[in-house]
């Protein structure tokens, strides 16, 4: 008879290959259970049981195996999957990528321990996300609104100001009702350089938000296998804060590209057959187990809203990382390098951006009755502008019809006055007023997305009544 968990097993390791440790199985152990692999150096490495048979088991260590030896390595069995001990005290604290306190403070007083994989939310018990969140950013609030419980990633590129944008959103985000409901921020840095993580912490501190933020940092120097756990620890914390403590939690994860690279690396070390560009075929499902952990649950007060950030390799939106992400998330905010170069902040590329949940959170009874039509017409007009620009590039502005020239001008204004907001954050009303004003520069006959009523009511009148 083998014996039950929470015991050590020494001198059982027979082979170490990358993150995988093969060992004789002398105790009863189940699939996916957590273990600690302790080297002769005394370092404790978290791992989990990836395969078991009658005599052997395969352990996937989630931290570097560097320094491990066959003889002398001990394995401690936990007897349950990887868990995270949580309590209200996690706010204001900094953790490493696997949930260990990193700020030198005392350990967190635990109220409960939860498996980091999270349970599958029953789709039937999901509450529809429909509470409009004002971010203070015109392009988002007016055209691609964020609602509570949504997962809305930022598709960015190296060197673009995605982190600044994420902090701006985190610090400004509010409900329009002005109600102050308990909220929290969970920030997960995956494979980020130390200075970036520090900059994040600083700006949250300056913004006065650090007290209700939990930070999880997997630094660029940490093991890549650990990167796979970081968002899971962060999301487990977020779910606790939302569904147990009743807070509205905004989760910012940066950079998902590092996560996917780690996934590719670990998959290769398992000898799996790669799919597109070397990423594993299950990357879609794996990402879904993270992104789907956003939402609201019927009858529970809190919510989990996710803003994952990813940098598109070579600014290519068809690369598997943004592509698979876009197939899972409820839209995307895309940053545009051209706008950034032109000094536009935030440099949001409007056309490829989308918020799928917007329609449930705007309009009559939510924001303003004219909001959907305005967004629709701005989109149509800006899309048309892009076509005109193409034409102008060939035949020159002189070769354009007078109407087309108006669209060129509209596009210019749209980018410099609506998308760009050098003056800082705007209320939704301010954003919408700019939008209507820009549309006034176009002939009414070209505004097919607006009804006569809307033209009369919102376009012809000055923006006074909002």
């Amino acid at each position: 008879m083998t014996v039950q968990a929470d015991l050590f097993c020494a001198d059982a390791v027979t082979r170490i290959e990358g993150p995988l440790v093969f060992a004789q199985r002398r105790v009863e152990v189940g699939l996916n259970e957590a273990v600690e692999v302790i080297g002769t150096d005394g370092r404790v490495r978290l791992g989990r049981v990836a395969a078991v048979d009658e005599t052997y088991m395969t352990i996937e260590t989630l931290e570097s195996t560097s320094g491990l030896t066959l003889a002398g390595t001990r394995i401690r069995f936990v007897g349950e999957p990887v868990t995270f001990a949580l309590g209200p005290g996690i706010l204001g604290r900094v953790f490493d990528g696997v949930g260990r306190v990193l700020d030198g403070g005392p350990p967190v007083a635990a109220k409960m321990r939860v498996s980091i994989d999270g349970a599958i939310i029953n789709p039937m018990r999901r509450a529809k996300p429909e509470d409009f969140i004002e971010t203070g950013i015109s392009a988002i609030d007016t055209l691609d609104s964020l609602v509570r419980g949504q997962k809305l990633p930022i598709f960015s590129g190296g060197g673009l100001p995605h982190n600044r944008l994420a902090v701006d959103i985190a610090l400004h985000a509010r409900l329009r009702s002005g109600e102050s409901e308990p909220f929290a921020i969970v920030f997960a840095g995956i494979g980020v350089p130390y200075d970036q993580a520090e900059a994040f912490r600083k700006s949250l501190e300056t913004g006065g938000a650090l007290g209700h933020t939990a930070l999880f940092l997997n630094l660029a120097s940490d093991s890549s296998a650990q990167r796979l756990l970081t968002p899971r620890f962060a999301l487990t914390a977020a779910e606790y804060l939302a569904y147990v403590e009743g807070r509205h939690v905004l989760v910012i994860i940066t950079d998902m590209t590092n996560y996917c690279e780690a996934l590719r690396e670990v998959s290769a070390s398992h000898g799996e057959i790669p799919s597109r560009k070397g990423y594993p075929g299950y990357m879609y499902s794996d990402l879904a187990t993270l992104y789907e952990r956003a939402g609201r649950i019927l009858g529970r007060p809190g919510s989990v809203t996710q803003i994952p950030i990813l940098t598109m390799p070579a600014d290519d939106i068809t690369h598997p990382i943004p592509d698979l992400t876009g197939y899972i998330t409820e839209g995307q905010i895309t940053l545009d390098r051209k706008l950034d170069r032109a000094g536009v902040y935030p440099p949001i590329g409007v056309l490829p951006s989308l918020s799928r949940l917007m329609k449930d959170g705007i309009g009559e009874g939510f924001t303003h009755p004219d909001h959907p039509a305005l967004a629709n017409q701005l989109y149509a007009a800006y899309a048309r502008t892009m076509g005109v620009r193409l034409l102008a590039g060939v035949v020159g502005a002189e070769g354009l019809t007078p109407t087309d020239r108006l669209f060129l001008e509209f596009g210019k204004q749209f980018e410099s006055r609506f998308v760009a907001q050098p003056e800082g954050s705007r209320t939704l009303e301010e954003s919408m007023a700019v939008g209507w004003e820009l549309l006034r520069g176009l002939p009414e006959t070209e505004l097919a997305r607006l009804s006569d009523e809307q033209i009369k009511r919102y376009l012809r009148k000055p923006a006074a009544d909002g």
Partner: protein, 588 residues
Amino acid sequence: MNEAAIRWISGPVLRAVTRDPFRIHEAVQVGPKGVLGEVIRLNGEEITVQLFEDGTGLKPGDPVHGQAAPLSVRLGPGLLGNIFDGLLRSLGGEGRDFLLPGRFVLPAGRFHLTPLVAPGRILKGGDPFAEARHHPDAHTFQLCLVPPDRAGEVVTMASRGEYADDETVLTLRDGQGRSVEVAMSHAWPVRTPRPVARRLPADPPLLTGQRILDCLFPVARGGKAMVPGGFGTGKTVLLETIAKWCDAEVIVYLGCGERGNEMAGVLDEFPRLEDPKTGRPLMERMVVIANTSNMPVAAREASVYTGITVAEYFRDQGLRVALMADSTSRWAEALREVSGRLGELPGEGGYPAYLSTRLAEFYERAARVTTLAGKNGSLTVMGAVSPPSSDFSEPVTIHTKRYVRNFWALDRKRAQARFYPAIDPIASYSEDADVLALWWSKQGAPAWTEQRRRFLTLLEEQIRLERMARILGKDALPPGQQLTLLCAELVNDGFLRQSAFSVKDRYASPRKQTRMMGLLTRFMDRAEAAVNAGIAVERIAALPVLRRLQRMGEDIAEEEYDRFDALEQMLEADFGALSGPSGEEKPS
């Protein structure tokens, strides 16, 4: 029952030793929690099982119990109006905020039964023997069918009253004199198509209420359509819109590897919408099957078969059924994952070589048929395809295209301009259109074929002319071509664009569609005549009627046909006024 003991386990695959005669695809329950799985390989004394649920905590030695039957689902009156997981287990029940692996048995539903047969009657497989109702005096009922593989003479038939749906209410004596017990619901293996008496040729259209589909790319009842499109191009909204307004009697909506919030959205919205034909909540004609993207992948592979089996069951009651599968790509990916675990040789894109066969088998289950009981039923299948990088030359798109008759391609450019539905009128096609022309002409729209052809040619011409305009400038085009561009834009804006969220426009009846097509054709005729008579295109572009036509879909509701008449008068008047002062246009 067959039993085995786990020898090895990793991820969702395990191997177990046994002496019992397991079969391929036999359903199994594993370990203390009874995690569901399916036998996928037999090798001597070893069976390989894939798990449909999370196997955390399973160990060598844990038992594997065979269910003595292939993966089957229970088909009966409890399906309509409800939501299930990919293995047709109800997602209802109190306090189940999170889904945990293992057995979950919802108690059988109770229904009011009205017998249709009496002892002595000979019943074949598929024959109806009773009606089942939620309430004794409900108007709507479902037929209870003899399972397709059973038959015999009625020995006992339960009397009118309330019964559990899995309780024996009918006993038959079959040809060999054996007694056969039949309940309101019966089990059927999902990977086996349910038999029919005869397959019928495509005939009337499945009306979707979407103009671009019904008029340009119509699908027949029992037809098959695919909706390929990159993320955010509108696959889900299109399928949901069709689910809401198409003229099927039963909708099976299969969320396969997609978002949980979308399923929640369906559950939130459909009960509040009314079926325009029956006035009943739309949810009552729906069965929702949800395997969201965070649910286990092996169950995703099975969910497609679960969905189509449920759909066939309603078809067998002589109903018009439509199945929407969103997205079949996730199913194909699940197939790829399972195949990879078995160590099979990967083909194109890593998919197994039998991908094409599986797709063919799936779409083949769509048809208009004569049921075993001699009624007409149909099952129309519409599948979303999510090509990686929006590349339509990838294996799932290519192979699906070989087996469907309707190709509704979504275009990113249109979607980005918020031009919905973003169906590309050039890349899309319908092989059913020729057959369906007859239906339209019987409906009093004899010009349908001609107008359809005219719209399609116009849209194709637009692409060519726009390319030229990009080189020469628009002004350099002769007036006739400028008019073509104007008309093409009008057809796009005034006919093809149709918001799924506009209360007046989300559904258009054939009558409204015909009226709109007619008005636009009339506009083109008069505009061409005007241009031929030397009137400048700018003057036509400035006609007030143009804006009215662009917006007629959303401005004019179903019942307001007098407003279409007024619009027609305005059109004639506008053109009349054009020729007025200069007096050049001849009256037509």
